[in-house]
Amino acid sequence: MPTMGAFQKGYLVAVILAIMTILEYLFAVGVSSTEVRFAGLAITALAKVYFIAYYFMHIYRCWREEAH
Amino acid sequence: MSKHLIPAALLWVVLTAIGEATFLLDWLPVVGSPEAEEWDLIFNVLLAMGIPVFTFVVAALVYAFTNFKTSNDGVETGATFKGTGMFPKVWLVATSALVAVAMVIGLVSLSNLQADKSGYGWGEDQAPLVIETTAQRFSWTFSYKDKNVELLSAKDSELLLPIDTEVKFELNSIDVIHSLWIPAFRMKIDAIPGRTTFLTVEPHKLGSFETDENFRVQCAELCGLNHTIMSMHIRVVEQAEFDAWLASKQAKVSR
Protein backbone atom coordinates (compact mmCIF):
# COMPACT_ATOMS: atom_id res chain seq x y z
CA MET A 1 0.00 0.00 0.00
CA PRO A 2 2.78 2.45 -0.71
CA THR A 3 0.83 4.92 -2.87
CA MET A 4 -2.05 5.32 -0.49
CA GLY A 5 -2.40 8.32 1.82
CA ALA A 6 -1.58 7.75 5.48
CA PHE A 7 -5.17 8.17 6.65
CA GLN A 8 -6.64 5.83 4.06
CA LYS A 9 -4.02 3.21 4.85
CA GLY A 10 -4.92 3.28 8.52
CA TYR A 11 -8.63 3.08 7.87
CA LEU A 12 -8.19 0.16 5.51
CA VAL A 13 -6.24 -1.66 8.22
CA ALA A 14 -8.98 -0.81 10.71
CA VAL A 15 -11.62 -2.26 8.40
CA ILE A 16 -9.53 -5.42 8.01
CA LEU A 17 -9.21 -5.65 11.79
CA ALA A 18 -12.94 -5.17 12.27
CA ILE A 19 -13.73 -7.88 9.73
CA MET A 20 -11.23 -10.18 11.41
CA THR A 21 -12.83 -9.55 14.78
CA ILE A 22 -16.29 -10.41 13.49
CA LEU A 23 -14.97 -13.49 11.68
CA GLU A 24 -13.10 -14.53 14.81
CA TYR A 25 -16.31 -14.31 16.78
CA LEU A 26 -18.33 -16.27 14.21
CA PHE A 27 -15.56 -18.84 13.92
CA ALA A 28 -15.41 -19.36 17.68
CA VAL A 29 -19.17 -19.74 17.94
CA GLY A 30 -19.39 -22.03 14.94
CA VAL A 31 -16.52 -24.48 15.41
CA SER A 32 -17.02 -27.35 17.80
CA SER A 33 -13.49 -28.79 18.05
CA THR A 34 -11.56 -27.21 20.90
CA GLU A 35 -8.17 -27.68 19.25
CA VAL A 36 -9.22 -26.18 15.95
CA ARG A 37 -10.88 -23.27 17.69
CA PHE A 38 -7.83 -22.63 19.83
CA ALA A 39 -5.48 -22.74 16.87
CA GLY A 40 -7.74 -20.51 14.77
CA LEU A 41 -8.06 -17.93 17.53
CA ALA A 42 -4.32 -17.94 18.13
CA ILE A 43 -3.55 -17.39 14.45
CA THR A 44 -6.12 -14.60 14.17
CA ALA A 45 -4.75 -12.90 17.26
CA LEU A 46 -1.20 -13.02 15.94
CA ALA A 47 -2.32 -11.65 12.57
CA LYS A 48 -4.19 -8.80 14.24
CA VAL A 49 -1.17 -7.98 16.38
CA TYR A 50 0.95 -7.85 13.24
CA PHE A 51 -1.40 -5.30 11.67
CA ILE A 52 -1.59 -3.17 14.80
CA ALA A 53 2.12 -3.27 15.53
CA TYR A 54 3.13 -2.52 11.97
CA TYR A 55 0.56 -0.04 10.75
CA PHE A 56 -0.65 1.59 13.96
CA MET A 57 2.42 1.44 16.17
CA HIS A 58 4.98 1.77 13.36
CA ILE A 59 7.33 -0.81 14.81
CA TYR A 60 9.57 -0.52 11.73
CA ARG A 61 10.57 2.97 12.83
CA CYS A 62 12.75 1.32 15.49
CA TRP A 63 15.22 0.22 12.86
CA ARG A 64 14.33 2.42 9.91
CA GLU A 65 14.75 6.17 10.13
CA GLU A 66 11.64 8.20 9.49
CA ALA A 67 11.28 9.84 6.13
CA HIS A 68 10.99 13.41 7.33
CA MET B 1 55.13 -24.11 27.58
CA SER B 2 55.40 -27.73 28.67
CA LYS B 3 57.72 -26.37 31.32
CA HIS B 4 54.55 -25.24 33.07
CA LEU B 5 52.09 -27.84 31.84
CA ILE B 6 53.75 -30.86 33.44
CA PRO B 7 54.09 -29.52 37.00
CA ALA B 8 50.56 -28.10 36.81
CA ALA B 9 49.23 -31.44 35.64
CA LEU B 10 51.06 -33.13 38.50
CA LEU B 11 49.48 -30.71 40.92
CA TRP B 12 46.09 -31.57 39.45
CA VAL B 13 46.73 -35.29 39.85
CA VAL B 14 47.81 -34.87 43.46
CA LEU B 15 44.84 -32.69 44.34
CA THR B 16 42.48 -35.11 42.63
CA ALA B 17 43.96 -38.03 44.53
CA ILE B 18 43.47 -36.17 47.80
CA GLY B 19 39.91 -35.34 46.80
CA GLU B 20 39.04 -38.86 45.77
CA ALA B 21 40.55 -40.15 48.99
CA THR B 22 37.56 -38.70 50.82
CA PHE B 23 35.70 -41.80 49.66
CA LEU B 24 37.67 -43.67 52.29
CA LEU B 25 35.73 -41.77 54.90
CA ASP B 26 32.31 -43.32 55.27
CA TRP B 27 30.51 -40.09 55.93
CA LEU B 28 27.17 -40.50 54.21
CA PRO B 29 24.23 -40.92 56.58
CA VAL B 30 22.66 -44.24 57.50
CA VAL B 31 21.28 -46.30 54.62
CA GLY B 32 17.78 -47.41 55.47
CA SER B 33 16.42 -48.60 52.14
CA PRO B 34 17.37 -49.65 48.59
CA GLU B 35 16.37 -46.14 47.48
CA ALA B 36 19.04 -44.77 49.79
CA GLU B 37 21.57 -47.23 48.38
CA GLU B 38 20.78 -46.05 44.87
CA TRP B 39 21.09 -42.46 46.05
CA ASP B 40 24.49 -43.07 47.60
CA LEU B 41 25.66 -44.71 44.39
CA ILE B 42 24.64 -41.80 42.14
CA PHE B 43 25.95 -39.28 44.61
CA ASN B 44 29.31 -40.97 44.74
CA VAL B 45 29.55 -41.32 40.97
CA LEU B 46 28.78 -37.64 40.48
CA LEU B 47 31.20 -36.73 43.25
CA ALA B 48 33.93 -38.85 41.70
CA MET B 49 33.33 -36.99 38.45
CA GLY B 50 33.05 -33.60 40.09
CA ILE B 51 36.24 -33.73 42.13
CA PRO B 52 38.62 -33.74 39.13
CA VAL B 53 36.69 -30.85 37.60
CA PHE B 54 37.03 -28.83 40.77
CA THR B 55 40.66 -29.73 41.28
CA PHE B 56 41.41 -28.83 37.65
CA VAL B 57 40.32 -25.27 38.35
CA VAL B 58 42.07 -25.21 41.71
CA ALA B 59 45.31 -26.59 40.25
CA ALA B 60 45.31 -24.03 37.45
CA LEU B 61 44.58 -21.20 39.87
CA VAL B 62 47.15 -22.27 42.45
CA TYR B 63 49.82 -22.89 39.84
CA ALA B 64 49.25 -19.56 38.14
CA PHE B 65 49.04 -17.82 41.50
CA THR B 66 52.42 -19.09 42.56
CA ASN B 67 54.29 -19.13 39.25
CA PHE B 68 53.05 -16.27 37.12
CA LYS B 69 52.89 -13.49 39.66
CA THR B 70 54.87 -10.32 39.28
CA SER B 71 55.49 -7.53 41.69
CA ASN B 72 56.60 -5.21 38.93
CA ASP B 73 53.52 -2.99 39.21
CA GLY B 74 51.79 -4.15 36.10
CA VAL B 75 54.40 -2.86 33.66
CA GLU B 76 55.50 -6.26 32.39
CA THR B 77 53.20 -8.02 29.97
CA GLY B 78 52.62 -11.72 29.60
CA ALA B 79 52.27 -14.02 26.63
CA THR B 80 50.07 -12.69 23.87
CA PHE B 81 48.01 -15.67 22.73
CA LYS B 82 44.32 -14.81 22.50
CA GLY B 83 42.61 -18.17 22.50
CA THR B 84 41.29 -17.99 19.00
CA GLY B 85 42.71 -21.31 17.86
CA MET B 86 41.74 -24.92 18.49
CA PHE B 87 41.95 -24.94 22.26
CA PRO B 88 38.53 -23.36 23.01
CA LYS B 89 36.90 -25.79 20.60
CA VAL B 90 38.52 -28.74 22.33
CA TRP B 91 37.44 -27.35 25.68
CA LEU B 92 33.89 -26.94 24.41
CA VAL B 93 33.77 -30.52 23.19
CA ALA B 94 35.31 -31.83 26.43
CA THR B 95 32.91 -29.95 28.71
CA SER B 96 29.97 -30.94 26.54
CA ALA B 97 31.02 -34.57 26.81
CA LEU B 98 31.29 -34.31 30.59
CA VAL B 99 27.87 -32.70 30.77
CA ALA B 100 26.46 -35.39 28.50
CA VAL B 101 27.79 -38.08 30.83
CA ALA B 102 26.26 -36.34 33.84
CA MET B 103 22.98 -36.08 31.95
CA VAL B 104 22.95 -39.74 31.06
CA ILE B 105 23.63 -40.70 34.67
CA GLY B 106 20.84 -38.42 35.76
CA LEU B 107 18.34 -39.64 33.19
CA VAL B 108 19.07 -43.31 33.80
CA SER B 109 18.71 -42.98 37.55
CA LEU B 110 15.61 -40.86 37.02
CA SER B 111 13.98 -43.57 34.95
CA ASN B 112 14.88 -46.12 37.65
CA LEU B 113 13.26 -43.87 40.20
CA GLN B 114 10.10 -43.51 38.19
CA ALA B 115 9.92 -47.15 37.09
CA ASP B 116 6.97 -49.22 38.29
CA LYS B 117 6.31 -49.51 41.98
CA SER B 118 8.99 -47.44 43.51
CA GLY B 119 7.59 -44.64 41.42
CA TYR B 120 7.81 -41.11 42.59
CA GLY B 121 5.51 -38.14 42.40
CA TRP B 122 2.23 -38.94 40.80
CA GLY B 123 0.93 -42.40 40.12
CA GLU B 124 -1.58 -45.12 40.88
CA ASP B 125 0.60 -48.12 41.66
CA GLN B 126 -0.37 -49.78 44.87
CA ALA B 127 1.95 -51.14 47.55
CA PRO B 128 1.35 -53.78 50.24
CA LEU B 129 1.23 -51.10 52.89
CA VAL B 130 -0.28 -47.71 52.18
CA ILE B 131 -0.06 -44.89 54.68
CA GLU B 132 -2.39 -42.01 54.04
CA THR B 133 -0.54 -38.99 55.31
CA THR B 134 -2.14 -35.68 56.04
CA ALA B 135 -0.01 -32.69 56.81
CA GLN B 136 -1.20 -29.67 58.66
CA ARG B 137 0.41 -26.90 60.62
CA PHE B 138 2.26 -28.30 62.62
CA SER B 139 1.64 -31.99 62.79
CA TRP B 140 1.41 -35.13 60.71
CA THR B 141 -1.43 -37.61 60.64
CA PHE B 142 -0.47 -41.09 59.46
CA SER B 143 -3.35 -43.40 58.72
CA TYR B 144 -2.56 -47.04 57.89
CA LYS B 145 -4.96 -47.71 55.05
CA ASP B 146 -7.50 -50.54 55.69
CA LYS B 147 -5.90 -51.12 59.08
CA ASN B 148 -7.98 -48.69 61.07
CA VAL B 149 -4.95 -47.23 62.80
CA GLU B 150 -4.13 -43.58 62.91
CA LEU B 151 -1.05 -41.89 64.36
CA LEU B 152 -0.66 -38.23 65.21
CA SER B 153 2.78 -36.72 65.43
CA ALA B 154 1.57 -34.48 68.23
CA LYS B 155 0.31 -37.39 70.32
CA ASP B 156 2.14 -40.56 69.35
CA SER B 157 5.86 -40.83 69.65
CA GLU B 158 6.83 -43.15 66.81
CA LEU B 159 5.81 -44.18 63.33
CA LEU B 160 6.34 -47.90 62.91
CA LEU B 161 7.28 -49.40 59.58
CA PRO B 162 7.76 -53.11 58.84
CA ILE B 163 11.08 -54.15 57.34
CA ASP B 164 11.36 -55.35 53.72
CA THR B 165 7.86 -54.23 52.84
CA GLU B 166 7.02 -51.61 50.28
CA VAL B 167 5.41 -48.67 51.98
CA LYS B 168 3.62 -46.04 49.99
CA PHE B 169 2.98 -42.67 51.55
CA GLU B 170 0.03 -40.87 50.02
CA LEU B 171 0.29 -37.24 50.92
CA ASN B 172 -2.27 -34.56 51.31
CA SER B 173 -2.18 -31.25 53.02
CA ILE B 174 -5.11 -29.44 54.50
CA ASP B 175 -3.59 -25.99 54.79
CA VAL B 176 -0.21 -25.02 53.36
CA ILE B 177 2.58 -26.77 51.51
CA HIS B 178 4.60 -29.20 53.62
CA SER B 179 7.20 -31.72 52.62
CA LEU B 180 7.67 -35.23 53.90
CA TRP B 181 11.32 -36.07 54.22
CA ILE B 182 12.90 -39.20 55.67
CA PRO B 183 16.68 -38.66 55.61
CA ALA B 184 17.46 -42.33 56.24
CA PHE B 185 15.61 -43.26 53.04
CA ARG B 186 16.82 -40.17 51.09
CA MET B 187 13.26 -39.53 50.01
CA LYS B 188 11.20 -36.41 50.02
CA ILE B 189 8.01 -35.14 48.44
CA ASP B 190 5.88 -32.09 49.02
CA ALA B 191 2.37 -32.26 50.39
CA ILE B 192 0.28 -29.87 48.34
CA PRO B 193 -3.26 -28.82 49.16
CA GLY B 194 -5.63 -30.01 46.48
CA ARG B 195 -3.57 -32.83 45.06
CA THR B 196 -2.24 -36.16 46.22
CA THR B 197 1.45 -36.88 45.87
CA PHE B 198 3.13 -40.08 46.81
CA LEU B 199 6.44 -41.71 47.44
CA THR B 200 7.32 -45.34 47.98
CA VAL B 201 10.11 -46.72 50.11
CA GLU B 202 11.14 -50.21 51.20
CA PRO B 203 13.03 -50.09 54.50
CA HIS B 204 15.65 -52.83 54.63
CA LYS B 205 17.40 -52.00 57.85
CA LEU B 206 16.11 -52.13 61.39
CA GLY B 207 16.52 -48.86 63.15
CA SER B 208 14.98 -46.07 65.08
CA PHE B 209 15.57 -42.47 66.05
CA GLU B 210 17.52 -43.62 69.09
CA THR B 211 20.03 -45.53 66.98
CA ASP B 212 20.22 -42.91 64.26
CA GLU B 213 18.57 -39.55 64.16
CA ASN B 214 17.95 -39.84 60.44
CA PHE B 215 15.13 -42.28 61.16
CA ARG B 216 12.61 -39.51 61.32
CA VAL B 217 9.95 -37.79 59.30
CA GLN B 218 10.78 -34.16 58.89
CA CYS B 219 8.82 -31.33 57.30
CA ALA B 220 11.22 -29.87 54.76
CA GLU B 221 9.16 -27.04 53.33
CA LEU B 222 8.84 -23.88 55.41
CA CYS B 223 5.28 -24.00 56.70
CA GLY B 224 5.24 -21.25 59.27
CA LEU B 225 5.75 -20.65 62.95
CA ASN B 226 6.61 -24.11 64.25
CA HIS B 227 8.03 -25.64 61.08
CA THR B 228 11.04 -26.63 63.15
CA ILE B 229 9.20 -29.07 65.37
CA MET B 230 7.10 -30.70 62.67
CA SER B 231 8.80 -34.06 62.77
CA MET B 232 8.19 -37.57 64.05
CA HIS B 233 10.45 -40.46 64.91
CA ILE B 234 10.44 -43.61 62.81
CA ARG B 235 11.07 -47.15 63.97
CA VAL B 236 11.64 -49.91 61.46
CA VAL B 237 10.73 -53.27 63.02
CA GLU B 238 10.35 -56.92 62.07
CA GLN B 239 7.07 -57.88 60.41
CA ALA B 240 5.92 -59.87 63.46
CA GLU B 241 6.55 -57.02 65.85
CA PHE B 242 4.76 -54.70 63.46
CA ASP B 243 1.71 -56.96 63.26
CA ALA B 244 1.56 -57.25 67.03
CA TRP B 245 1.83 -53.50 67.42
CA LEU B 246 -0.87 -52.99 64.83
CA ALA B 247 -3.16 -55.44 66.57
CA SER B 248 -2.70 -53.73 69.93
CA LYS B 249 -3.45 -50.39 68.33
CA GLN B 250 -6.55 -51.77 66.66
CA ALA B 251 -7.70 -53.23 69.94
CA LYS B 252 -7.33 -49.85 71.55
CA VAL B 253 -9.40 -48.24 68.82
CA SER B 254 -12.20 -50.80 69.03
CA ARG B 255 -12.36 -50.57 72.81
Partner: protein
Protein backbone atom coordinates in the same frame (compact mmCIF):
# COMPACT_ATOMS: atom_id res chain seq x y z
CA UNK C 1 3.57 3.18 36.97
CA UNK C 2 2.78 3.01 33.32
CA UNK C 3 2.07 6.71 33.24
CA UNK C 4 5.42 7.55 34.68
CA UNK C 5 7.41 5.20 32.51
CA UNK C 6 5.69 5.86 29.21
CA UNK C 7 5.80 9.59 29.67
CA UNK C 8 9.34 9.31 30.82
CA UNK C 9 10.44 8.31 27.38
CA UNK C 10 8.79 11.35 26.00
CA UNK C 11 10.67 14.06 27.71
CA UNK C 12 14.27 13.10 28.35
CA UNK C 13 16.54 16.00 27.75
CA UNK C 14 19.70 15.46 29.77
CA UNK C 15 22.30 13.15 28.35
CA UNK C 16 21.52 14.42 24.92
CA UNK C 17 24.46 16.75 24.66
CA UNK C 18 26.00 14.58 21.96
CA UNK C 19 22.70 13.31 20.65
CA UNK C 20 20.83 14.63 17.67
CA UNK C 21 17.05 15.01 18.01
CA UNK C 22 16.63 12.15 15.54
CA UNK C 23 18.75 9.85 17.67
CA UNK C 24 17.02 10.97 20.85
CA UNK C 25 13.71 10.08 19.25
CA UNK C 26 14.96 6.70 18.17
CA UNK C 27 16.34 5.94 21.63
CA UNK C 28 13.02 6.94 23.15
CA UNK C 29 11.14 4.79 20.68
CA UNK C 30 13.23 1.68 21.32
CA UNK C 31 12.98 2.28 25.05
CA UNK C 32 9.21 2.50 24.81
CA UNK C 33 9.08 -0.72 22.80
CA UNK C 34 11.20 -2.48 25.38
CA UNK C 35 8.79 -1.24 28.01
CA UNK C 36 5.91 -2.77 26.03
CA UNK C 37 7.88 -5.96 25.67
CA UNK C 38 8.44 -6.05 29.41
CA UNK C 39 4.79 -5.34 30.17
CA UNK C 40 3.61 -7.95 27.72
CA UNK C 41 5.36 -10.53 29.88
CA UNK C 42 3.19 -9.51 32.83
CA UNK C 43 0.11 -9.88 30.67
CA UNK C 44 1.47 -13.06 29.15
CA UNK C 45 2.04 -14.68 32.53
CA UNK C 46 -1.55 -13.99 33.56
CA UNK C 47 -2.71 -15.27 30.18
CA UNK C 48 -0.72 -18.47 30.69
CA UNK C 49 -1.98 -18.81 34.26
CA UNK C 50 -5.53 -18.74 32.94
CA UNK C 51 -4.85 -21.82 30.83
CA UNK C 52 -2.74 -23.46 33.55
CA UNK C 53 -5.61 -23.27 36.01
CA UNK C 54 -8.58 -23.89 33.75
CA UNK C 55 -7.46 -25.33 30.44
CA UNK C 56 -9.96 -24.04 27.92
CA UNK C 57 -12.81 -24.14 30.39
CA UNK C 58 -14.91 -21.01 30.36
CA UNK C 59 -17.93 -19.83 32.33
CA UNK C 60 -20.84 -18.08 30.68
CA UNK C 61 -20.09 -14.49 29.71
CA UNK C 62 -22.17 -11.94 27.87
CA UNK C 63 -20.97 -12.47 24.31
CA UNK C 64 -22.77 -9.44 22.92
CA UNK C 65 -21.25 -7.13 25.51
CA UNK C 66 -17.83 -8.62 24.86
CA UNK C 67 -18.07 -8.05 21.14
CA UNK C 68 -19.30 -4.49 21.64
CA UNK C 69 -16.48 -3.43 23.95
CA UNK C 70 -13.97 -5.07 21.64
CA UNK C 71 -15.28 -3.04 18.71
CA UNK C 72 -15.26 0.09 20.89
CA UNK C 73 -11.60 -0.46 21.73
CA UNK C 74 -10.80 -1.07 18.06
CA UNK C 75 -12.64 2.12 17.14
CA UNK C 76 -10.61 4.02 19.73
CA UNK C 77 -7.46 2.71 18.06
CA UNK C 78 -8.71 4.19 14.79
CA UNK C 79 -9.28 7.61 16.34
CA UNK C 80 -5.89 7.38 18.04
CA UNK C 81 -4.30 6.58 14.70
CA UNK C 82 -6.12 9.56 13.20
CA UNK C 83 -4.74 11.82 15.93
CA UNK C 84 -1.16 10.74 15.37
CA UNK C 85 -1.37 10.93 11.58
CA UNK C 86 -2.99 14.33 11.87
CA UNK C 87 -0.08 15.52 14.03
CA UNK C 88 2.37 14.21 11.48
CA UNK C 89 0.59 16.24 8.83
CA UNK C 90 0.42 19.25 11.12
CA UNK C 91 -3.36 19.25 11.43
CA UNK C 92 -3.72 20.19 15.11
CA UNK C 93 -7.47 20.73 14.98
CA UNK C 94 -8.16 17.22 13.70
CA UNK C 95 -5.66 15.78 16.17
CA UNK C 96 -7.51 17.47 19.02
CA UNK C 97 -10.87 16.09 17.97
CA UNK C 98 -9.45 12.62 17.39
CA UNK C 99 -7.82 12.63 20.84
CA UNK C 100 -11.11 13.68 22.37
CA UNK C 101 -12.82 10.82 20.52
CA UNK C 102 -10.22 8.36 21.76
CA UNK C 103 -10.69 9.54 25.34
CA UNK C 104 -14.47 9.14 25.09
CA UNK C 105 -14.23 5.66 23.54
CA UNK C 106 -11.71 4.69 26.23
CA UNK C 107 -14.14 5.78 28.92
CA UNK C 108 -16.94 3.83 27.23
CA UNK C 109 -14.73 0.74 27.23
CA UNK C 110 -13.90 1.13 30.91
CA UNK C 111 -17.58 1.59 31.76
CA UNK C 112 -18.38 -1.47 29.66
CA UNK C 113 -15.92 -3.57 31.67
CA UNK C 114 -17.41 -2.24 34.89
CA UNK C 115 -20.88 -3.17 33.68
CA UNK C 116 -19.64 -6.62 32.69
CA UNK C 117 -18.29 -7.07 36.21
CA UNK C 118 -21.63 -6.14 37.74
CA UNK C 119 -23.59 -8.67 35.65
CA UNK C 120 -21.04 -11.49 35.74
CA UNK C 121 -22.53 -14.89 36.57
CA UNK C 122 -19.41 -16.05 38.36
CA UNK C 123 -18.00 -14.86 41.61
CA UNK C 124 -15.14 -15.25 44.03
CA UNK C 125 -16.97 -17.24 46.69
CA UNK C 126 -18.39 -20.72 46.79
CA UNK C 127 -22.03 -20.51 47.71
CA UNK C 128 -24.64 -23.21 48.10
CA UNK C 129 -27.63 -21.34 46.72
CA UNK C 130 -25.96 -20.54 43.40
CA UNK C 131 -24.63 -24.09 43.00
CA UNK C 132 -21.22 -22.76 42.30
CA UNK C 133 -18.44 -25.09 41.36
CA UNK C 134 -14.77 -24.38 42.14
CA UNK C 135 -14.24 -23.72 38.44
CA UNK C 136 -16.68 -20.87 38.67
CA UNK C 137 -14.56 -19.25 41.36
CA UNK C 138 -11.31 -19.76 39.48
CA UNK C 139 -12.82 -18.33 36.32
CA UNK C 140 -13.97 -15.36 38.35
CA UNK C 141 -10.46 -14.98 39.71
CA UNK C 142 -8.72 -14.99 36.34
CA UNK C 143 -11.46 -12.98 34.65
CA UNK C 144 -11.48 -10.18 37.21
CA UNK C 145 -7.68 -10.13 37.43
CA UNK C 146 -7.06 -10.10 33.70
CA UNK C 147 -9.77 -7.61 32.79
CA UNK C 148 -8.94 -5.61 35.89
CA UNK C 149 -5.28 -5.27 35.00
CA UNK C 150 -6.19 -4.44 31.44
CA UNK C 151 -8.78 -1.89 32.58
CA UNK C 152 -6.18 -0.32 34.86
CA UNK C 153 -4.04 0.20 31.78
CA UNK C 154 -7.01 1.64 29.90
CA UNK C 155 -7.68 4.08 32.72
CA UNK C 156 -4.04 5.16 32.96
CA UNK C 157 -4.00 5.44 29.17
CA UNK C 158 -7.04 7.71 29.32
CA UNK C 159 -5.26 9.79 31.93
CA UNK C 160 -2.25 10.17 29.66
CA UNK C 161 -4.48 11.01 26.69
CA UNK C 162 -6.16 13.70 28.77
CA UNK C 163 -2.77 15.17 29.63
CA UNK C 164 -1.76 15.08 25.97
CA UNK C 165 -5.07 16.70 25.01
CA UNK C 166 -4.61 19.51 27.53
CA UNK C 167 -1.07 20.15 26.40
CA UNK C 168 -2.10 20.14 22.76
CA UNK C 169 -4.91 22.58 23.49
CA UNK C 170 -2.44 24.86 25.26
CA UNK C 171 -0.32 25.04 22.16
CA UNK C 172 2.38 22.48 22.90
CA UNK C 173 3.56 20.00 20.26
CA UNK C 174 4.13 20.64 16.61
CA UNK C 175 4.33 18.75 13.35
CA UNK C 176 8.03 18.28 13.95
CA UNK C 177 8.00 17.56 17.66
CA UNK C 178 5.15 15.58 19.16
CA UNK C 179 6.74 12.57 20.85
CA UNK C 180 4.50 13.14 23.86
CA UNK C 181 1.46 12.40 21.71
CA UNK C 182 3.10 9.62 19.71
CA UNK C 183 4.23 7.76 22.80
CA UNK C 184 0.82 8.05 24.45
CA UNK C 185 -0.88 6.75 21.33
CA UNK C 186 1.60 3.90 21.00
CA UNK C 187 0.77 3.01 24.57
CA UNK C 188 -2.90 3.09 23.67
CA UNK C 189 -2.35 0.72 20.76
CA UNK C 190 -0.40 -1.55 23.08
CA UNK C 191 -3.41 -1.74 25.39
CA UNK C 192 -5.40 -2.75 22.32
CA UNK C 193 -2.87 -5.46 21.48
CA UNK C 194 -3.31 -6.93 24.95
CA UNK C 195 -7.05 -7.08 24.41
CA UNK C 196 -6.52 -8.88 21.10
CA UNK C 197 -5.27 -11.80 23.18
CA UNK C 198 -7.43 -11.38 26.24
CA UNK C 199 -10.73 -11.19 24.39
CA UNK C 200 -10.51 -14.65 22.80
CA UNK C 201 -8.94 -16.14 25.93
CA UNK C 202 -11.80 -14.98 28.13
CA UNK C 203 -14.79 -14.87 25.79
CA UNK C 204 -14.29 -17.14 22.81
CA UNK C 205 -12.03 -20.02 23.68
CA UNK C 206 -14.85 -22.36 24.72
CA UNK C 207 -17.12 -21.34 21.84
Amino acid sequence: MAVIAAHGHGVESHGASHMSPEKRLRVNRVGLWLFFFSESIIFGLLFTSRFFLLGTHQEHVDQFLGLVITIVLLASSVTAYTAETAMEKGNRKLAQWALLGTILLGVVFAVGVGFEWSVAEFGLKLSEEHHQEPQNVVFGTVFFTMTGLHAAHVVSGVGMLVLAFIMLSRGHFSKESHWGISSTIMYWHFVDVVWVFYYPALYLVAG
